[in-house]
């Protein structure tokens, strides 16, 4: 049995726990990224690496401290720098004297993990191993889908809720419960119950609130620590938030399912970018174009110096300016100052509200 860990993005670990359990391994939850982790990784990381790299490294270190013996890295080759993380992280961890087994997953994640984790699985000689792999992946993706549905409901409901903190707390409790549920039937029931619970929270829908669409890099959009709870802050400022990015979609990108479903949007984005610019760039452009029609403002989140998203910024800034849509772009890293961040956000919200009032 292996003690597996990988770097986190949002609530990815909730799904990974079921997958590891199904394959007969133990999932080690790293401590969620915080300033302590960053203080530890900053001197180890390359000087101008992107922010998610440092957070991912902090996850790896934290998991190793908690007893993980196997780290799974997503790698291979790519357009964006993400695929190069694993080489540098492995090098840094090895230089730090950490003992671990490294598995690099690239391409078809299902086949890669199937082969990599089989040797040490207690079910390796059993006929059940293959069905267990498929079941594990199904549960993994299903859990992420449930979280995505809950988050969508939360984003639609929270700005109107009488007690917004209560809504956030309910969401947190539901995710906690989901983390320890592994049966498919129970997952399904919990998913439906969670949606009902979120909808049942008292709300005041007498006024319509302006709506902001959030686009950008997956990590910056999903991870609350990275984006400084920007979704919650916007809700608190009386803004309804729409965001297409979730852990489920992130994993669908890695498992190559997503672009089948988003084909129309990708084709639309290719009017702006005639080549795939890596990462989430095509989707960011596609959603910026869509939100310019359906929302009152567009907020762009990305890790500072993110290669694909800076290109996106160069293209969508003039485009949204021409359309007269309020736009704010926030490059995030650990040096993002709280005061500057909130001032910019508040000013943006005022502009959005002004435009909404005029329309």
């Amino acid at each position: 049995m292996l003690k597996i860990a990988t770097s986190q993005i949002g609530y990815l670990g909730v799904g990974m726990r079921s997958l590891a359990k199904e394959l007969g391994h133990e999932w080690v939850d790293p401590q969620r990224p915080g300033l302590e982790g960053l203080v530890r990784t900053r001197p180890l990381s390359p000087e101008y690496c992107c922010y998610p790299f440092r957070l991912a490294l902090a996850d790896c270190l934290s998991a190793l401290d908690r007893g993980a013996d196997t780290l799974v890295f997503f790698g291979g080759k790519g357009i964006c720098r993400l695929a190069m993380y694993q080489s540098v992280q492995q090098e840094i961890l090895a230089r730090g004297g950490h003992a671990f087994e490294a598995h690099v997953v690239s391409g078809d994640i299902r086949s890669s993990l199937y082969g990599l984790l089989r040797d040490r699985s207690p079910y390796r000689d059993s006929w059940t191993y293959t069905p267990r792999t498929y079941l594990g992946f199904f549960k993994f993706m299903y859990k992420l889908k449930i979280i995505e549905r809950w988050r969508m409901r939360l984003l639609a409901h929270r700005p109107y809720a009488m007690a917004q903190d209560r809504a956030t707390a309910v969401f947190g409790q539901l995710v906690e419960k989901l983390d320890h549920t592994h049966e498919i039937g129970a997952l399904s029931r919990l998913g439906r119950a969670g949606l009902r619970q979120l909808s049942a929270l008292p709300a005041n829908r007498s006024t319509v609130l302006p709506r902001v669409g959030i686009i950008g890099e997956s990590y910056a959009c999903i991870d609350d620590f990275t984006n400084r709870r920007v979704f919650e802050r916007l809700n608190r400022l009386g803004i309804e938030v729409q965001s297409p990015i979730s852990e489920y979609k992130f994993m669908s990108v890695v498992t190559r399912l997503y672009y089948k479903t988003e084909a129309r949007r990708i084709r639309r984005a290719m009017r702006f970018f005639e080549a795939p610019g890596g990462g989430d760039s095509l989707l960011s452009v596609a959603y910026a174009e869509e939100f310019s029609r359906t929302c009152d403002g567009v907020l762009h989140l990305y890790p500072f110096t993110c290669l694909p998203e800076t290109s996106v910024r160069q293209v969508i800034e003039p485009f949204l300016q021409r359309r007269g849509v309020p736009y704010l772009s926030l490059g995030l890293d650990e040096q993002t100052a709280e005061e500057g961040f909130s001032t910019r956000l508040e000013t943006f919200v005022e502009v959005v509200k002004g435009r909404f009032a005029k329309s």
Partner: protein
Amino acid sequence: MNRKSESCCYERTKPRTDLASKACFTVRYSAPKPKERMIPRDRRVGVPRVLAYDELREFFDALLEAAGMIIAVSPRSSKTLLDAGAARSVDDVCMPLKLSFGHIHALVQDGIEVVLVPRLVSVAKGRNFCPKLHVLPDLVRSAFPGLQVLAPYIDFHHSRREELAQHLEDACAPMLWQLGVPRRHFRTLVARALSAKTGENERPEPTQAKTDAPVIAVLGHPYAELDPLCGLDIPRSLRRLGARVVLSPSQPPLDHRGLGTDIYYEPTHRTARAAAYHIASGVDGIVLMTFFACGPDSYGAELLMYRLTRLAPHLPVLRIIADEQSAAEGLATRLETFVDIVRDGKKRRQQC
């Protein structure tokens, strides 16, 4: 068709199975079919003297001249151009990209209507360029509304062709059509341009330094080595300090001695190959030029540094990270110190 040839054919055409292939279902890896001609009234085509200019100059100059165009090259890089470029670009991109916007700005100021900005995706199977170069023509279109951009789509990795020369023929076809060249002349023109390309870029001649002068390799992206503004004029500064400077060979040998493993960005991989080549030829020190916010180098150069420490533990390596705020005094001090270290190391080795 027998079984073997079927499998070969499949190998050649099957989609990539790495992270980049996530978009392979819906995106295309070639230029869209051009809709309108792009013939400039004065027949002048602007070519920015930046990024891959030195590497592609011979080929594209010959091609454009054969197509009956007059080539207007932007002036040499200067602080003024950099400032103009920085004003046109977003703030968190690397210096060479800002500089390229400055060059295009200069061409626009000169009355140029059509510029050549190749879409550089890949020139070798399995390796690609920085994502910003993939979309550079789109960024230029966005920053300079109304400017017409000729953008040959050079993506050899996704091409079914086996030779880069054959792929260049495909990549340049839409551009030649836009310039009004009859289709029947495409192949001849590209062949003529390829024969004009000697493969040897213009490299500064080594100075007549003393034979006991330390040999220092200055490695980095081609424009970091050749453009004095981008590269902070490091080769000249080193020569002034009495060192003999060598640059990357234009086509470094493919053997990278493990330095380039897992580095899939072409410029950094090329630097790794050049480093391996120079270490084998016995240089006394290496200056590694990188840029702030450069994606390929942020991890690639780091890996290279780790591996250089292992491969040649006693070789002094200086890594310079350049941006538009790099101060000349600080750089001069670092270079002087470095040359002293290299010289001492060389003396010690000779005594041994």
